[in-house]
């Protein structure tokens, strides 16, 4: 079957098997290997991408279900050369070690900040509770999100002051 979707602002059309999972479509068909495959059972969340702006676990979404929709992956998180504050927060606060869960974590955390720019630590933990990180112990991920939240607020204030 043929699917057409927008991935990281670029429209793509491909001929695929109907059973192809979105995670494999992104990784194998489009060579967007930043999204990872970890468990098949929706438990680990390393495969999280956005489908129309909502975080979904792409190991349990068929590529066909994304037909006509918008997908965003970790490769579409930075704005060109500029890292997203979430990415910068993970770097500044050591929110990653092996980096395998990181793309999914960051997609979830970016979505959280878009809805709730100033989350509490408990809200951050709740937001990432469908995902597993085996390296960091989560404290540094929480700090990374706080870093992004604070810096985005400061940047917004600065932009407001300039305007």
């Amino acid at each position: 079957m043929q699917v057409t979707m927008t991935v990281n602002d670029v429209e793509v059309t491909r001929e695929i098997e109907g059973r192809l999972l979105l995670v494999h479509f992104l990784r194998d068909t489009l060579s967007l290997t930043g999204t990872h495959w970890g468990c098949d059972t929706s438990n680990c969340g390393t495969c999280v991408v956005w489908l129309d702006g909502e975080p979904v676990k792409s190991c349990t979404v068929l590529a066909a279900m994304a037909d006509g929709h918008e997908v965003r992956t970790v490769e579409g998180l930075a704005k060109g050369a500029e890292l997203d504050p979430i990415q910068e927060g993970f770097m500044q606060c050591h929110g990653l070690q092996c980096g395998f869960c990181t793309p999914g974590m960051m997609m979830t955390c970016r979505a959280l900040l878009d809805k709730n720019p100033d989350p509490t630590d408990a809200e951050i933990r709740e937001a990432i509770s469908g995902q597993i990180c085996r390296c960091t112990g989560y404290s540094t991920i929480v700090r990374s999100v706080r870093w992004a939240s604070v810096h985005e607020a400061a940047a917004a204030q600065e932009a407001g002051a300039q305007a």
């Binding site: 991935v7 990281n8 602002d9 670029v10 793509v12 098997e17 059973r19 192809l20 990784r27 194998d28 489009l30 060579s31 967007l32 290997t33 930043g34 999204t35 990872h36 495959w37 970890g38 468990c39 098949d40 059972t41 438990n43 680990c44 390393t46 970790v74 490769e75 998180l77 930075a78 060109g80 050369a81 890292l83 990415q87 910068e88 993970f90 770097m91 050591h94 990653l96 070690q97 092996c98 980096g99 395998f100 869960c101 990181t102 793309p103 630590d121 933990r125 990432i128 509770s129 995902q131 597993i132 990180c133 085996r134 390296c135 960091t136 112990g137 989560y138 404290s139 540094t140 929480v142």
Partner: protein, 797 residues
Amino acid sequence: MTTVEEPRTSTFDDNDQKPVGFGRMLRKEDPRLLRGRGRFTDDVQLPGMLHLAILRSPFAHARVVSVDTSAAEAAPGVKAVVTGETLKGLGLAWMPTLSNDVQAVLATDKVRFQGQEVAFVVADDRYAARDALELIDVEYDVLDPVIDVRQALAPDAPLIRDDLEGKTDNHCFDWETGDADETEAVFARADVVVQQDIVYPRVHPAPMETCGAVADFDAVEGKLKLWSTTQAPHAHRTLYAIVAGLPEHKIQVIAPDIGGGFGNKVPIYPGYVCAIVGSIVTGKPVKWMEDRSENLISTGFARDYIMRGEIAATRDGKILGIRTNVLADHGAFNGTAAPVKYPAGFFGVFTGSYDIEAAYCKMTAVYTNKAPGGVAYACSFRITEAVYLVERIVDCLAAELDMDPAELRLKNFIQPDQFPYTTKTGWVYDSGDYEPTMRQAMDIAGYAELRREQEEKRARGELMGIGISFFTEAVGAGPRKNMDILGLGMADGCELRVHPTGKAVVRLSVKTQGQGHETTFAQIIAEEIGIPPADIEVVHGDTDQTPFGLGTYGSRSTPVSGAAAALVARKVRDKAQLIASAMLEVTVADLEWVKGSFQVKGDPGKAVTIQQIAMRAHGAGDLPEGVEGGLEAQICYNPSNLTYPHGAYICVVDIDPGTAQVKVRRFIAVDDCGTRINPMIIEGQVHGGLTDGVGMALMEMISFDEDGNCLGASLMDYLIPTALEVPDWETGYTVTPSPHHPIGAKGVGESATVGSPPAIVNAVVDALKPYGVRHADMPLTPSRVWDAMRGRATPPI
């Protein structure tokens, strides 16, 4: 696809300039990982690449009567189907394990655990390969399995390893350490003896990235290129040379980015060998990537020790002796990855951090119809089990003596002036100063205040527990005179080359799985020769590019390879000094090293930088007599001893009396890993290990039903902590440098995994004191805690 512009570098460049050496520094590996541009094994895509899937046994113990592959071979997209019989013809049906046992690559005679490899399919894509597995018809003659480890040596137990000549039972090995008679004498005259049966259940490292490989055999060149999820690329290459008979110089093992290892990626798995065979058979690159269930049911598990602990003491709390008897479940093949003379790993450090008079351990290891493995999950070669035993039994003693567990530990610590300290089992602890570490943990926790709070809560019927654990680790295997893996000495090579413009490349034999080697090793070189970390490229994980060494596990990278890096840098610096003396026209003795340059003593204005020296080393003009051009060196470092980090951990739990749910409210970890290279990375390592500890203590267990079906075969069944199960970690540190390590560093990667489970269990048992509970085995799930509260705690196996 997406256009990715060049990353903005200014922020990071600035950060990388400071410090030139030790201290917090952001990681050099992060920019690629944050952008989704890491390269993990499953990211490798080669032209014409095929995909491999493995058919696994549904039974724990069965004879393989026949394997019919005809339907699978005829399936669309299938390029090859290979069985044990095929491999037998190639002499590849069996392979050596890292413990001098053998393991079936694909079963020929019997399957010996559920999930064992039986056949594989190579096809155009991963879906077609999986489809074809369904078409392979295997006829099994099902046999009784050995699942209950306590029954493994029963006279009527089914024989598992009939492949081993002369084998008549399921005995794997016996091992003992310490002095049985001396220990018996000490126990006989002790005021108090406490005995406790303690189980450390089977758990699994479950790294986020499962195991896999891409094999690309070039028949014309005779060269095999293998990308694989290995923590020990050089050791694997040598073993492939031995197993497959390929010449070692024609094998290139590449460990690209690794999504967590924790010991799970030390052994060679049948899947890697299958991928190699698949590529040889088809003449194409072949990728094998296991799924989560395959990872959990077939790859290296951890622990599975049934221990009886005994401790002897005086009435006033002086510990005299510790004795233990262990029954170890090694699964169907002894796949333990440990130095060969240490079949029980470093379990011999079970005497802990205490100055005692005698100790003895007797261990029996057996085969069962379960997956092979044993040493994994950040265990420092079984020190997790040893520390759990001693820290649990010390708490049992404290309860018996009605003594505060902190006070009991403080009373028995090895004292600073006793180091180097030789334990009763023969381990030489290099350095330690335990009391300040313990006091700091108690200060951060507010220990006295916590005890007051507990008393008040107990009076109100609330369940609050405070658990302490104090551990001494033994890491950095190891001195080659007595430590090797399959005859390969546990030394590590390092090469450092300074280019003419003063930039450098350092090549390591170890391999990061998230520990940040690209950052810390650049910092070590920077500390020694003053070249900024940003100017140092760290190359690792490719056997064609790096010197030989045994890889990253057992927290050995910093103690062994880190020492190699420091010493190779000093060799370069020594040569730089000779060149500097010629440049400044003074004697070598007239020069002093001020990080980054050699200065004439007493005349700081007269100096040359390492960068200027590098240019001179490669440039025109004469060099001093006997000095070759270039500025580079290599080394193979053989450690003289292990390093012995220590730490004090305090855990505070609350238990809901209505549901028996344990909540870890606080966790305080004070670690001493000697000299600290990058505190940010050290803290990260500790946090991760503490989370493992919560997992093992409260949630994680690989269990089996009576038929040998694995009951932890998915992440829905094998529960790993999320952000909701763990607290915000509180950390502190002390610094007791290692006297024999060139920079005094000790290694920290596994400290928290080793040290945290007993603190959590001790806290839960402490909370349950009003119920008269003295011990409860992990995992302390609500149902197991509920049972303990009602006096019917049972071992998990």
